[in-house]
C-alpha cells in the first residue's frame, strides 16, 4: 500500500471511530425515546408511517445498555445489519493499522438482492396490524 493511501485510510478510520465514540456516548446517556434533542424521522413525520430505519436510535440506546431483545423489538433490521457494518469497520481498521491492503470483501449480488427483499418486506410489514412489536 502506498504511504499516502495508508495515511488517508488511517485518517478516515480515526474519524469514523471518533464519531462513533461521541455518538455512542450521547446515545448511552440520553434515551431517544424521551425526545432528548434527537430529530424525528422525516418520512414518519410526513406520512405517519414507519420507515425501515424507524426505531434505530432507540434500539441502539437499548443495545448500549445491554438489552438486545428490546433493541430487536424496536428495529430488527438494525440488529440484523449491525454485524455486517461492524465487520466492514473491523476490516477497514485492520487495513489502517497494518498499512497493508486486504482483499476486498465481495458480497455476491444474490445476498444483496435478498437483503433488499427483506428491507422492502419489513417496511411494508411493520406498517400492518399484523406486525407484533410496537415502536
Amino acid at each position: 500500500m502506498v504511504a499516502d493511501e495508508t495515511f488517508y485510510q488511517r485518517l478516515k478510520v480515526s474519524a469514523v471511530w471518533c464519531v462513533l465514540a461521541l455518538g455512542a456516548t450521547y446515545l448511552y446517556l440520553f434515551n431517544p425515546a424521551n425526545g432528548a434533542g434527537y430529530p424525528a424521522c422525516p418520512f414518519r413525520m410526513i406520512t405517519g408511517l414507519q420507515c425501515p430505519g424507524c426505531g434505530t436510535l432507540r434500539g441502539l440506546h437499548q443495545l448500549l445498555h445491554g438489552h438486545p431483545l428490546a433493541a430487536f423489538k424496536l428495529n430488527p433490521l438494525m440488529v440484523i445489519s449491525l454485524p455486517f457494518l461492524l465487520l466492514v469497520l473491523f476490516l477497514s481498521t485492520r487495513t489502517a493499522v497494518t498499512g497493508r491492503s486486504q482483499p476486498k470483501l465481495f458480497i455476491p449480488a444474490k445476498y444483496i438482492w435478498i437483503f433488499l427483499g427483506v428491507v422492502v418486506f419489513f417496511w411494508v410489514f411493520r406498517n400492518t396490524p399484523l406486525y407484533p412489536f410496537v415502536s
Binding site: 430529530p39 424525528a40 418520512f43 430505519g53 433490521l77 455486517f84 466492514v88 444483496i112 433488499l116 428491507v119
Partner: protein, 100 residues
C-alpha cells in the same frame, strides 16, 4: 517463438474492485435519513452482479447511481434535520417572546 507466448490469464469472477457503496446504502436506509437509501441498495446489488458478469462499464454506471442515491438520502435527511432545528429554535424564540 510463438510457442513461448502465453495468453494473458482470463479475468476471475471479481477482477476489479468497483465500489458498490453498500455500507452507505445500509446506513442511509436503516440508520438514518430517508428511505431513498433503498434505491442505493438496488444499485449496490447491480454493481456486484455486473462485476460478476464481467460488465465493467455497467458496474461503474451502477456504482455512480449507488453513490448518488446514498447522497440524496443523506443530503435530504440532513437538510430536514437542519430545518427541524431551525423550527425548534424559532418556536422557542416565539415562546420566549410571548412569555415576557
Amino acid at each position: 517463438m510463438s510457442q513461448n507466448w502465453t495468453p494473458p490469464p482470463p479475468p476471475s469472477s471479481a477482477p476489479v474492485n468497483i465500489q458498490n457503496y453498500l455500507v452507505f446504502a445500509i446506513l442511509t436506509t436503516v440508520f438514518c435519513c430517508l428511505p431513498a437509501g433503498v434505491v442505493s441498495i438496488v444499485y449496490a446489488a447491480q454493481v456486484n452482479s455486473k462485476v460478476a458478469a464481467g460488465d465493467i462499464a455497467g458496474a461503474m454506471a451502477a456504482s455512480k447511481n449507488a453513490k448518488l442515491w446514498a447522497m440524496i438520502s443523506a443530503g435530504v435527511g440532513a437538510a430536514f434535520i437542519a430545518l427541524y432545528i431551525v423550527f425548534i429554535v424559532i418556536m422557542g424564540g416565539i415562546g420566549a417572546m410571548n412569555s415576557r
